[in-house]
Amino acid sequence: MNKLELSSLYQLTMARFRLIWREPEAIFWIFIFPILLAVGLGIAFRNRPADVLQVGATTEQLTQALTRDEGLTATTMNEEDGTRALATGRILLLAIPRADGVAYKYDDTNPDARTARLLVDGAIQTAAGRREAVRAENELVHETGARYIDFVVPGLLGMNLMGSAMWGLGFAIVEARQKKLLKRLVASPMPRWQYLASFLLSRLAMLIIEVAVFLGFARVAFGVPFRGSVWELGLLCVLTSLAFSALGLLVSSRARTMEAASGLMNLVMLPMWILSGVFFSATRFPAVIQPLVRALPLTAAIDALRGNMLQGMNLGQLIAQVGILLAWFVVPFAVSLRIFRWR
């Protein structure tokens, strides 16, 4: 046996590693689940090549006029069928010729229907011989970085860092306490700080794999941009993971049973899932609760990750978020060291 194998910090960290790798469920939640989520959201919110809108018309002549517009697919139907098709959402608008012109039947609270109204009207007016008063030309821009998937990937990353750190630490500690392993360990000459440090070390090592797999996938599959420094991005991930590890440690520092621990975990994480802007911008919440929302570690983490990846901001520009994350690391860690129940 060499020197390394005699080091208790090494042995403790290796034990953590083995326990994680030998738990297939943990591997699923840490590595596979965020990718599945990203794929699902990527498909649901993918930017389609300019939407083609379904519309209907009651005469063949109108249908032909509408079909000439690339953005429209027109079907001929009688008024009764058309009304039904409108109600079920199969078409967005029904054009009906009147004695003095044409009538459009559509729902003006549906943005797509309003777009259809503009396109249909333009097509019919052009077919009737309208000339444009001002000549207009289109310059199309499809920029990466402004899509929903670009927005949601840093959010998912932050959420995943939170989940794996808190569950990874919290559950393992409470399980060890419940099975009296913790008591056995403190009865041995094991330095206590090394036990906690082994969790942080194994977490950081897992983090490298976890973040690389997820972001690599997001890059290859969706072309998500990395505009900021990759090293700073790594540092932000480490800091985020440390903050949530400390929080997981705090949550599990007293709990005696898994049930109590998972209740506490959900209590801590649920507000952040909702408020911290994983799936939509946290700025949508009322101004009154914004200070609270901003102070949450997940909000700070996600804002910082988005700032780095999407806007190419450096750490100096993200100092507020970094400060919040540091505070969430130091304070819960210090508190849990004081109140930790070793047996």
Partner: protein, 337 residues
Amino acid sequence: MTEGGSVAVPAAKARTGTQADGPTLLLRGVRKAFADVQAVDGLDLEVARGECFGLLGPNGAGKTTTIEICEGLTAPDEGTVEVLGLNWRTGADELRQRIGIQLQETQFPDKLTVEETLRLFRSFFRRGIAVEESIETAQLEEKRSSRVGGLSGGQKQRLAMACALVGDPELLFLDEPTTGLDPQARRHLWDLVDGLKQAGRTIILTTHYMEEAERLCDRVAIMDHGRVIALGTPQQLIATVGGEDIVEFAVSGGETGSHEGGNGVVDAAPLTAIAGVQSHRVDEGLHQLSVSELHLAVPRIFAALKEQGLHLSEFRTHSATLEDVFVRLTGRYLRDE
């Protein structure tokens, strides 16, 4: 292992400490209360080097609290605790290096192997035996690469023992080492403890099995309600019962006790008058006599009962055990609780 490789014999190495002559363990006036329960109520104990000392008593007698106080896991409310000449307040780090502990209900991680678990525990000690050696001592060679979750109860218990041994401890604490094991696994573990005794380690164990205490321990303290109610070698304690054998009988149709006359009631006086009968007691209809010369006494007991016109519904004898000592002292059985 670089430093452990040369340490091949499982015997506790003579660490010529300054306290070599003092007792390995010394408790004076130790008390500990939990909420409203006085778990340990004024305990004095002394265990010499090389001794195998047993704490015997029913569940709830305070054995585990006592041993955990000795192990430094529980702080006593009152009293002094000296282990290997050190105390837990100032010498905790050194003590943990020098003692081996097996707790009652530790569950090691299911997904680590036997060898990985032992390597982990070995790494906590500055010096100790090789992992290989602890595996051999606990006879887990075939299970070396098996996961802990797949071990039998007896194998898990032997793993716990091996974890207690990797630091080559001078003093070994075993808390209910065979509770919940089947008879075969229990005997296997007893052999293991025998081996450790022979190697000269000081062992302190708790048990509520009197056979275990009789078989393994040089000296036994019988505990009840947080106090030591008897202390001595198993032979000395059994001798206090007054006879080497116990006769138990019940009579049909009879209520118990000392009601005079009446059918089915035993008059104890003629029984205790028989030569060799040391004492008589009744517990729920079962009469117990402690007897010294069984072969002579039994015919006389039969005759005395016949004289009273009683019919036996049960009759049996056994050699006196620590259980009988406990029954005599408390009027209760060890197993009942």
